[in-house]
């Protein structure tokens, strides 16, 4: 066991994978000499050299596009986007190139790359640096999507992403980098694509991922004090989506809530709620409830920022009312 931060775990995953696989290269803004805007790639350039840890100009579309080409010609690139908010700039390379190359070309070649980035609120970073854009990725056929919520998952999901045959978008949460956990990285991780049941309870199922897992766990504790016991599912990857685990628990319990930081309308929570409603209809005692981000941009004002996304209180309140 060792105490690690989320940031350390990500860095270690990169370092361990790069040691094992000489084809892994990192490219992105400030990933080398600076060590990453959030410090994830700190000193990797010293360990692996500038040929494998490549500082790029501020040219997001070409960072992702170059990763696509590198992946098609034998490297295993990890492209870094400093903020998920820049996804839109790269969307052609990601959605029209990376995601479709295997399919369009009749299965001749895959694009085994990882696009690492981070998103979410929590730093008063304003409307263009605080978004949760995972729905853009989840909506694009051909892309895998991992969003670790725990230190252990930061490590294992990134290691696993670096073994996948297809493009993986890996979205970290900016508010989690300094979170610490005692982890045993030698322990066998859950398989890629498996959700984790973080808590068992008989009264309702709460499905979530990324930073909201921690808010949901806080809410579950508060609910427990009032005699309400929640089962909490952390999806870990949104594509593949482990719907079997969701189904199993929702069918047993009959009440479900979905929690996501992304904007509510047409978001990840919308997809999950629709699917639970369709597939578990006969087992549901109540409508599936979505607690998600407001349909508004994120303000720089700390009060408005935290008011724009779910927190433990809102989650606990709505869960309590669902059971009332």
């Amino acid at each position: 066991m060792a105490e690690l931060t989320y940031r350390d775990a990500l860095r270690k995953a990169l370092a361990d994978a790069m040691t094992e696989n000489p084809d892994i290269v990192i490219l992105g803004e400030e990933v080398g000499r600076y060590g990453g805007a959030y410090g994830v790639t700190k000193d990797l350039i010293k360990e692996f050299g500038p040929e494998r840890v490549i500082d790029t100009p501020i040219s997001e579309p070409s960072i992702v596009g170059a990763a696509v080409g590198a992946a098609m010609t034998g490297l295993r690139p990890v492209a870094e986007l400093m903020y998920v908010d820049f996804l839109g700039m790269t969307m052609d390379q990601l959605a029209n190139q990376a995601a479709k190359i295997r399919y369009m070309f009749g299965g001749q070649i895959g694009v085994p790359m990882v696009l690492r980035t981070q998103g979410g609120t929590g730093r008063s970073a304003g409307a263009q640096h605080s978004q949760s854009l995972e729905a853009y990725v989840m909506h694009t056929p051909g892309l895998r999507l991992a969003m670790p919520a725990t230190v252990a998952d930061a490590y294992h999901l990134l290691r696993q992403a670096l073994e996948r045959p297809d493009p993986v978008v890996f979205i970290e949460h900016k508010a989690l980098y300094t979170m610490k956990e005692d982890v045993d990285l030698g322990a066998r991780p859950p398989a890629w694509g498996k959700a984790a049941v973080r808590r068992q309870g008989k009264d309702l199922v709460i499905v979530t991922y990324s930073r909201q897992l921690h808010y949901v766990m806080d809410a579950a504790k508060a609910l427990s004090a009032k005699g309400i016991e929640a089962t909490v599912i952390d999806l870990r990857t949104l594509n593949p989506l482990d719907f079997d685990t969701i189904r199993e628990h929702v069918e047993r319990i009959g009440r479900a809530m979905v929690v996501s930081e992304g904007a509510m309308t047409a978001g990840v929570a919308a997809e999950l709620a629709a699917r639970i409603s369709e597939e578990c209809f006969d087992f549901l005692e109540e409508p599936v409830i979505r607690v998600a981000g407001e349909d508004i941009p994120i303000s720089v004002s700390p009060a408005l920022e935290s008011g724009s996304v779910p927190g433990p209180q809102l989650i606990a309140e709505m869960a309590g009312r669902l059971l009332a």
Binding site: A127, S308, M318
Partner: protein, 353 residues
């Protein structure tokens, strides 16, 4: 353009613009120092504050060449440009503090200040994000025949963005009244300009696209102002331009960055290239303004900016309900809060149950 009221520049009896340029630069320097202080006092919204200390000549020199009808966009390091254009420092700093009294009511913050009244079409947290808007503003000016020029301010880092080249090409192709103003402070975060591009003579690429292109030394604000006037005048006449102002980013990229990627000797030398001190020495040397008068001006500006801090700290946070405002036009309904939607669902449940 309208200069802010208050201290009038000393020594304006001469024909020289330098006293006024000095005053503008001094106000920018003073303002930015107070923003740094506000951060240390925990009164800013977040730590993503990019100070323009060392770059004052670009802000003062280029805005001096602009007319009231002109428009502009800035990058994330845009406090100084906006202040030089005539912004109210109180409303600016309140915005940086995320307060309701700020230019954007605490929604935008340091990186998203705008003021249509002064032609400020917006600061941007996307590197290069504000550049193409000036092409559109150029089209507007041409169609409306209002004789306006639009200036895009951005950093050297934005020369990595393809959108700059698309925009320069369109501006040249269509002969638009546009200036691309690149504030080359030698760094994009920890990346020195020569680590980001193989040809650091940035104006050459503009010339290749058919624009007027110049690079000037930002140490001397008069040189900047002169080049800006040439290029803005030509742009107004239909030949767009590109101006790179070479300067040095005195401090870290943002408030928490201690610049470990550059050595102390380099920083020391960089901070010697101080456009404010340079202009001050010139004023005295040429006998335009006495040192004592400059001291008085400096203290007056310091008092103004101290009052700006006090004002900012005293302001309120925006009310929570304001977060739903201005997503769409005020004549349209606001987005429905999550709570309202859930109330509907959960209320029905209670009735049924």
């Amino acid at each position: 353009m309208s200069k802010p009221k208050g201290a009038s520049a000393p020594g304006t009896k001469t024909n020289s613009d330098l006293p006024e340029l000095y005053r503008t630069m001094r106000r920018v320097r003073s303002f930015e120092e107070r923003v740094g202080e506000l951060f240390v006092r925990g009164q800013t919204a977040g730590s993503m504050l990019h100070l323009s200390i060392g770059e004052e000549s670009a802000a003062a020199g280029i805005t001096a060449a602009m007319k009231p009808q002109d428009t502009f966009t800035t990058h994330h390091r845009g406090h100084g440009i906006f202040l030089a254009r005539g912004a109210d420092p109180k409303r600016m700093m309140a915005e940086i503090g995320g307060k309701e009294a700020g230019y954007c009511h605490g929604k935008g913050g340091s990186m998203h200040i705008a003021d249509m009244g002064l032609g400020h079409l917006g600061a941007n947290a996307i590197v290069g994000g504000g550049i193409p808007a000036v092409v559109g503003a150029g089209l507007s000016a041409r169609r409306k025949r209002n004789n306006a020029v639009s200036v895009a301010f951005f950093g050297d880092g934005a020369t990595g963005q393809g959108v700059l080249y698309e925009s320069m090409n369109m501006a040249a192709l269509w002969g638009l009244p546009v200036l691309f103003a690149c504030i080359n402070n030698q760094y994009g975060m920890g990346t020195r300009i020569d680590q980001a591009t193989a040809n650091t003579a940035l104006h050459e690429r503009a010339i290749a696209f058919g624009l007027n292109g110049e690079s000037v030394d930002g140490l001397d604000v008069e040189e900047v102002a002169e080049a800006a006037r040439r290029l803005v005048d030509a742009a107004r006449a239909g030949k767009p331009g590109f101006l790179a102002v070479s300067c040095y980013r005195f401090y870290g990229h943002a408030r928490k960055d201690k610049s470990p990627y550059r050595d102390a000797a380099e920083e020391e030398a960089g901070r010697q290239r101080d456009p404010v001190a340079f202009a001050r020495a010139r004023l005295i040397e040429r006998g335009l303004v006495k040192a004592a008068e400059l001291d008085a001006l400096d203290s007056e500006i310091a008092r103004e900016m101290d009052a700006t801090i006090d004002f900012t700290i005293a302001q309120n946070e925006p009310p929570l309900a304001s977060m739903f405002r201005d997503v769409f036009d005020p004549s349209e309904p606001e987005p429905e809060p999550v709570r309202t939607r859930l109330n509907r669902v959960l209320a029905t449940e209670q009735e049924n149950g």
